[in-house]
Amino acid sequence: MNKQWTLLLLLFCLTAVALASQGVVLAQAQPALTSVYRAGPLPLTEPLAPLWQEIRGISVPLTPQAGVLPALLQGSVPAVTVKSVNDGQWIAFHLTWDDATQDVSATKPDSFRDAAAIQLPVSEVLPSICMGAAGQLVNLWHWKADWQRDVDEGFRDVVDAYPNFWADFYPFVAGKPPYRMPADFQSPEARAYSVGWAAGNPLSNPTKVSPVEDLNALGFGTATSQEGQDILGRGVWNQGKWTVVFARPLVNGDAQDAQISPNKSTSLAFAVWNGSNREVGARKQVSTWTTLRVEAPRGGGAPGAGPAGAPPAASQPGGLESAYVVVAILLAVVLTALLTLFVARGWRSS
């Protein structure tokens, strides 16, 4: 009898553990991100706006990119917390991650910037997570910490990076030493000596407007800056944490851009770079695809005219699915217990 009970108990425990572990897996599977509807205007470039405190986010796990060379062997950012709001016209994403070091310079040969990116599908078919593939276009929104500083404080020149810097002459330079970039290097002749800038490389442009670059890609190594740059954004580092917002109209008619619709769920993915860990390019941490649901305005109201401060009750995308998982586990445990009792009784009667 004792033996039988032990066996049954074991069976019960195993079943429970199996179900529970499945539950854990389910719980870990990427929860969907809901872009909560809020009446505009939204704080599109204010990562610390109070609104964001009201929005529940999801934690998106990140893993070091190891699919192609060069790879990131040791990651430094395990997850990014993502929130989203929309007002029927604009959509904004809010990313937060832990980073003990604020790396806002890519000026020295051994300094690398912090950065974050959102990947959205442009093609109808869900593209390869690996920055798309041939025929599977993706749209990338790439925020860079050094661009942020350039936008906030002016272009970080060599005189800023090296306090004792002095140079008395440059070809075709205007002004006086120690000179400023770009102000004293505006003529086409002077600009020709900043080859990347003259060649139209957005990385080399000292007159940045947004800290976010709008790109397309068709696979690893193909990221290409777009003609039309229309992503707003801002990043703030505070007490070991980056908080970055990205914003764009839901629909903008640009065939190179992802068009986002309240009536249609789409997917998005995230990447984060930690400059002081020399993370750059393919050396990054990435997420898998995450489902994005965009809430439509309440009560059929006109886009952007919904009630301000709508309750965040429905804005718990992760919570809803977690509840399902808990219920499923409880049900399974109860069923197993019943089955166990039934079997035990059968054994006893025999």
């Binding site: 060069p70 062997l73 890519a106 051994d110 060599v158 970039m181 060649a199 990385l203």
Partner: protein
């Protein structure tokens, strides 16, 4: 990983791409024995290509003193140490190349120099390897020595910078084998800087992308030599087409010096890139040092170079170095003269193997003065 044949190692080796040689390959010969480290080449190059904002510490061309000079600091010794033993069996390299020694997650073995490492381009200038005791006489090879190493991009047949760029923003021109960074596609990842063993891809602090020696391709396209060659007052340099051993053109002066007389050798061939700047090793430096730097051909190169006075063809090729601003496609030695020809076979330069000597009387009757210089 595909296999390619590296003739400098006399064996196949791993390389991330299939071997595809350029139709023609830019090559150059630098005669270390003639260099006085005046840095005229360095300044000529800088005036031409790196005088812009953000390029202050970028030197596409530099001349460093060996053994203690480096630009950037420790560029070669750091990698030599990381690579481990680099043994040769005869003319075949038995060690690992930087591609074969690639650590997990990387295309090749390398390191990214730190900011400070670029800040002292002429560190170690003229510092000799040891000291002389009182009363010692200098012998050849010198007991304590120094020599100058002239460095530009090697425009390698198997460039590590090109192999390392995840964006394929670095390319090798099929028409002349010159390796270039596409300035519109580079995103400043610096994988190329990490993996170029010669550290000849440099970071522009203002444009935040990588730049490198372009072998003065606008000049080469016009049949001219590069600025560092044009400005060399010691006439130690010459550029020309270099071919692999099975396609040698013996009347190409660079092919002749590298493949026929074998007096010019690649720099650190063991790294596995098949670099295309070839050096005539210094005679006064112990071969234990120069073998590590230029491979197992050093002894032969020195022996051949020592016999140059009795070898009219070799002497002719050497005398054509720096003798013209034009690109010498072919050369001949006839009647005591070395003659250089362009691609179309037109003569562009003629140099006597032995400089004619004119002796004049010390008294100049026309000007009623004594001449001080009478040769």
């Amino acid at each position: 990983m595909p296999k390619v044949f590296n003739w400098q190692l006399n064996r196949e080796m791993d390389y991330p791409y299939e071997g595809a040689r350029a139709q023609r390959q830019f090559g150059a010969v630098f005669d270390i024995n003639k260099c006085i480290a005046c840095q005229t080449c360095t300044i000529g190059c800088k005036n031409a290509w790196t005088s812009g904002r953000g390029q202050e510490y970028m030197w596409y061309n530099n001349v460093e003193s060996k053994p203690y000079g480096f630009y950037p600091l420790g560029w070669d010794v750091k990698l030599l140490e990381a690579l481990g033993p680099q043994s040769w069996q005869g003319n075949t390299y038995a060690g690992k190349t930087i591609f074969e020694a690639a650590p997990a997650g990387s295309v090749a073995l390398g390191f990214l120099p730190e900011d400070e490492d670029w800040a002292h381009p002429n560190l170690g200038e003229d510092e000799i390897a040891g000291k002389f005791e009182v009363g010692e006489r200098i012998m050849i090879p010198h007991m304590a020595w120094v020599f100058y190493l002239q460095r530009i991009c090697n425009h390698c047949s198997y460039p590590a910078c090109l192999a390392s760029c995840p964006r394929k923003a670095i390319y090798k021109r099929p028409e002349d084998g010159i390796v270039l960074v596409d300035q519109s596609r580079c995103r400043g990842y610096r994988e190329c800087m990490k993996n170029c063993p010669y550290k000849k891809v440099l970071y522009n602090a203002v444009t935040r992308v990588a730049e490198k020696c372009i072998a003065c391709y606008p000049l080469i396209e016009q049949g001219r030599q590069t600025y560092c060659i044009l400005t060399c007052i010691g006439r130690i340099r010459m550029a020309g087409w270099i071919h692999p051993p099975d396609k040698v053109e013996p009347d190409s002066p660079v092919d002749f010096l590298v493949h026929v007389r074998k007096v010019a050798l690649p720099l650190y061939p063991q790294f596995g890139l098949e670099p295309n700047v070839y050096y005539i090793p210094p005679l006064h430096v112990p071969v234990s040092f120069t073998r590590q730097m230029f491979g197992p051909g050093v002894d032969n190169a020195i022996a051949a170079y020592r016999k140059a006075a009795d070898d009219p063809e070799l002497l002719g090729a050497l005398l054509l170095m720096g003798a013209t601003d034009r690109w010498i496609a072919r050369f001949k030695v006839r009647n005591g003269q070395a003659i250089g020809y362009d691609e179309k076979g037109a003569e562009i330069v003629r140099v006597p193997l032995k400089e004619p000597v004119y002796i004049r009387p010390d008294w100049d009757p026309a000007r009623q003065v004594f001449r001080h210089n009478i040769t």
